[in-house]
C-alpha cells in the first residue's frame, strides 16, 4: 500500500457536450508504484488527456475512486485539490506554461509561493532545482530569452521544487526538435534514476520507449499494460 503512488479503481469521467453525454473514461483500474516510470499512450479520444487531468487533480471523476499516496482525492474540494497539486504533483506541459514576464528563478519559486514558504528558503530551493536541471547560469533570464529545451528544463525545475511524489508530464517534447527531445528525456531518465516517480502522457512511441512501463488506453478503457524490456537510453 505504502508504495502505491497512484491507485485508481473503476475511474470514470463523463462530460456533457450540449445535450450529448460523452464518456471519456469508462472504468479504469490501474496502480502506479513508487519510482515507476510510466508512459500513458493512446490515440486522440482514447481518454488519456482526461486521465492526465484526473491524475493531476485538475479535475474530479464522475465515478470510481482515486487514491494519491493512499489519500482518496476523488471527492476533495477545490481548495483541497489545489493543496494536493501544490504538494504532491509536479506538472510538465507540452507548451511549457511558464509565466512570460517572470524570470526562470521566479517561475520556479511560484509553487513555493503558494506553499507559503519563506522568501529566503524559496530562493534557495529554486536555485537548487535550477542547478539540478543544469540552468544555474540562466536563473535571471525570462522565458523568451531561453531556448525551447531550456524552457522545458525550467518547467521541470518548477515541477520538482516542491519535491512532489509524482512528476506528471503531458507531451513534454511535443514542441521540441528531436535533439532537444532526447536531451529532455535524458533529464527524465536521470530523475527516475534518483528515485522520482514519473508519468509521461504521449502519443509518440519514441518517447514512450524511454519509460519502463507503457500503458495504452483505447476508448476510455485500459487496452494494454506492458513492461519495456529494452528501455531506450
Amino acid at each position: 500500500m505504502s508504495d502505491r503512488v497512484i491507485h485508481v479503481e473503476e475511474l470514470a469521467r463523463e462530460y456533457l457536450m450540449g445535450a450529448e453525454r460523452v464518456q471519456a473514461l469508462r472504468g479504469l483500474t490501474l496502480t502506479i508504484r513508487r519510482n515507476e516510470y510510466v508512459a500513458i499512450m493512446g490515440p486522440s479520444g482514447s481518454g488519456k488527456s482526461t486521465f492526465m487531468n484526473l491524475m493531476g487533480c485538475l479535475d474530479t471523476p464522475s465515478g470510481g475512486s482515486y487514491w494519491l499516496n493512499g489519500q482518496e482525492v476523488s471527492r476533495l474540494t477545490d481548495d483541497a485539490l489545489a493543496r494536493v497539486r501544490n504538494k504532491e504533483i509536479g506538472f510538465v506541459f507540452q507548451t511549457f506554461n511558464l509565466l512570460p514576464r517572470a524570470t526562470a528563478l521566479h517561475n520556479v519559486e511560484l509553487p513555493l509561493v503558494y506553499a507559503g514558504t519563506s522568501a529566503r528558503e524559496r530562493r534557495q530551493r529554486a536555485e537548487e532545482a535550477l542547478t539540478r536541471v543544469g540552468l544555474e547560469n540562466r536563473m535571471h533570464h525570462r522565458p523568451n530569452e531561453l531556448s525551447g529545451g531550456q524552457r522545458q528544463r525550467v518547467a521541470i525545475a518548477r515541477a520538482l521544487v516542491n519535491r512532489p511524489s509524482l512528476l506528471l508530464a503531458d507531451e513534454p517534447t511535443g514542441n521540441l526538435d528531436s535533439t532537444t527531445s532526447e536531451e529532455i528525456m535524458r533529464v527524465f531518465a536521470e530523475l527516475h534514476r534518483q528515485g522520482q516517480t514519473i508519468v509521461v502522457v504521449t502519443h509518440e512511441p519514441s518517447i514512450a520507449a524511454h519509460a519502463e512501463r507503457v500503458v495504452v488506453l483505447r476508448d476510455g478503457r485500459l487496452d494494454s499494460d506492458t513492461r519495456n524490456t529494452q528501455v531506450a537510453a
Partner: protein, 413 residues
C-alpha cells in the same frame, strides 16, 4: 500570495503599458486632483480670509460699533439695506458714552473716513482714503511708522491739521523728496505731513497703502463725516475672550443709551473678524459640501474604468491563471492577486492625482495672493480612497478569475 509580489507585478504591468495605464487611471487621477486642489485652495482661502482679510481690515481682537456692518461677504437684500439706512448714526456722544462706561480694558478709536483728493505742489493724488481718528488707531490696526511720528492726543483735541501718509502716497506726491514737514492741501486747506506709515502691501490685489490719517477733529472732517457723527468706534481688547466680553458690554451700553426694549432689535451693528467672515464661511461650506460629490463621481467613473481594465487583464491572462492554479494557487490566492493588482493600479492613479493636486495648489500660491497649503489629511484621504476604489473595482474581475476552471484556463491561448 505575498502582497509585495502582486504589487510589483501590477507596477510592472503599468510600466509596460504607460499610455493605456494612464488612460485607465485618469478617472481616479482627476478625482484625487480635485480633492487635493480644492481642499488646499479652500483652506488657503480660509487662512487668507482670517489672517489677511478680516484681521487686517478689522484688526486682531477688535470689533467695530457702526450703524451697519462695514464688511459684507454675503448677500444683502435691498430691504435690509434700507432698514440699515433708517438707523440712527453713531454720534460723538455715543462714542463718549461707551468709552466712559466700558469696564473691559480696551483701546478705543473714534473713526471716520471717505475718499479725498490730496494736492502737493501741482501734483494730485486722487481717491485717497482720508481717515479721521485718534492715536490709538495705529495700534489697533497695527500700522507702523516708517518715518516721523503719529499725532498726539493734544493734536486730536485741538483738531490740528496734520497728516500721517500711507507709503504709496508719500512716494507718489513727493517722488523721492522727504515728505516730512511738507504741506499738502485737502480741498484748499493746508495740512502738514508729520509721519509716513510702513508699507502694508495688498489685499486681493488692492493696495492698502493709499491712505492718509488725520485727527478726527481736524478741519477736513466736515468733508468725510456729518457734524458730530462718526462712521465707527473701533475697540480692541487684549485677547479674544475679553473682546467678546467687551462686545457684550458695548451692546448692553448702546441698548441702554438708545432706550431699546428687550423685544427690539439692535439699531446699531457690532462686527468682529469672525462676523465679517460669515459670508465666506457659507461659501466654503458649500464648496466642502459639493466636493465629496465631485470627488465621488470621478472616483466611481475611475473605478468602473479600472474594473474594465481588470476584466480585460483577466481575459488576457487566463492562461497565467490556469498555470497558477495548476501549481497550487487556491481561489483566494487568485482573488487576492487581482484585487491587489487593481488596488495598486488605482493607488498609482491616486498618487499621480496627489502630485497634480499639489502642483495646482502651488500654482495657485505662486499666481495669486492665496496661501494655498496642502492639507496632510487630504493626502491621507486620497491614498485611502485610491486603495479603496481599486479594491472595490477589483472584486468582480478577481472573483471571475478565481472561479476559472484550471483545465479550460490552461488551454486558453
Amino acid at each position: 500570495m505575498p502582497v509585495f509580489e502582486a504589487v510589483r507585478m501590477a507596477l510592472r504591468t503599468i510600466a509596460a503599458q504607460k499610455l493605456k495605464s494612464f488612460f485607465s487611471l485618469i478617472g481616479v487621477l482627476i478625482g484625487v486632483t480635485f480633492l487635493i486642489a480644492v481642499v488646499s485652495i479652500v483652506q488657503g482661502m480660509n487662512v487668507y480670509m482670517e489672517d489677511q482679510f478680516a484681521n487686517r481690515l478689522i484688526g486682531l481682537n477688535t470689533f467695530t460699533l457702526r450703524r451697519q456692518p462695514g464688511i459684507n461677504t454675503g448677500n444683502v437684500t435691498e430691504e435690509t439695506w434700507r432698514a440699515w439706512q433708517r438707523r440712527p448714526r453713531i454720534s460723538y456722544d455715543d462714542a463718549d458714552y461707551v468709552a466712559e462706561r466700558l469696564h473691559t480694558p480696551a483701546l478705543i478709536a473714534r473713526y471716520c473716513a471717505d475718499r479725498m483728493t490730496l494736492n502737493y505742489n501741482g501734483k494730485v493724488a486722487k481717491d485717497i482714503d482720508l481717515q479721521g481718528t485718534e492715536p490709538s488707531y495705529f495700534e489697533i490696526k497695527n500700522i507702523g511708522i516708517a518715518s516721523g511720528r503719529i499725532f498726539t492726543p493734544q493734536e486730536v483735541r485741538v483738531g490740528a491739521p496734520v497728516l500721517v501718509l500711507g507709503s504709496e502716497i508719500g512716494e507718489k506726491l513727493f517722488e523721492g523728496l522727504d515728505p516730512l514737514g511738507k504741506e499738502v492741501t485737502i480741498r484748499g486747506l493746508p495740512y502738514r505731513v508729520i509721519g509716513v506709515a510702513e508699507r502694508r502691501g495688498t489685499l486681493f490685489g488692492i493696495s492698502l497703502d493709499k491712505f492718509a490719517v488725520m485727527p478726527f477733529r481736524a478741519p477736513a472732517r466736515r468733508h468725510i463725516c456729518p457734524l458730530n457723527i462718526l462712521d465707527e468706534l473701533q475697540i480692541k481688547a487684549p485677547n479674544p475672550d475679553l473682546m467678546l466680553t467687551a462686545m457684550a458690554e458695548t451692546e448692553a451700553l448702546m441698548r441702554t443709551r438708545r432706550g431699546l426694549k428687550p423685544s427690539e432689535e439692535n439699531n446699531f451693528d457690532l462686527q468682529n473678524a469672525s462676523g465679517a467672515l460669515e459670508g465666506w464661511k457659507k461659501i466654503s461650506t458649500v464648496l466642502f459640501t459639493a466636493l465629496p460629490g465631485l470627488v465621488a463621481i470621478s472616483l466611481v467613473v475611475g473605478g468602473i474604468v479600472i474594473m474594465n481594465i481588470m476584466l480585460m487583464a483577466v481575459a488576457e491572462r487566463t492562461r497565467e491563471i490556469g498555470i497558477r492554479k495548476a501549481l497550487g494557487a487556491k481561489r483566494r490566492d487568485i482573488l487576492a492577486q487581482f484585487i491587489i493588482e487593481s488596488a495598486t493600479l488605482s493607488t498609482v492613479g491616486a498618487a499621480l492625482g496627489i502630485g497634480t493636486g499639489i502642483g495646482l495648489a502651488f500654482l495657485v500660491r505662486a499666481l495669486t495672493p492665496l496661501p494655498a497649503a496642502v492639507a496632510p489629511w487630504s493626502i491621507g484621504l486620497a491614498v485611502a480612497l485610491g486603495v479603496l476604489v481599486g479594491m472595490v473595482a477589483g472584486v468582480y474581475p478577481a472573483s471571475r478569475a478565481s472561479k476559472l476552471d484550471p483545465i479550460t484556463a490552461l488551454r486558453a491561448e
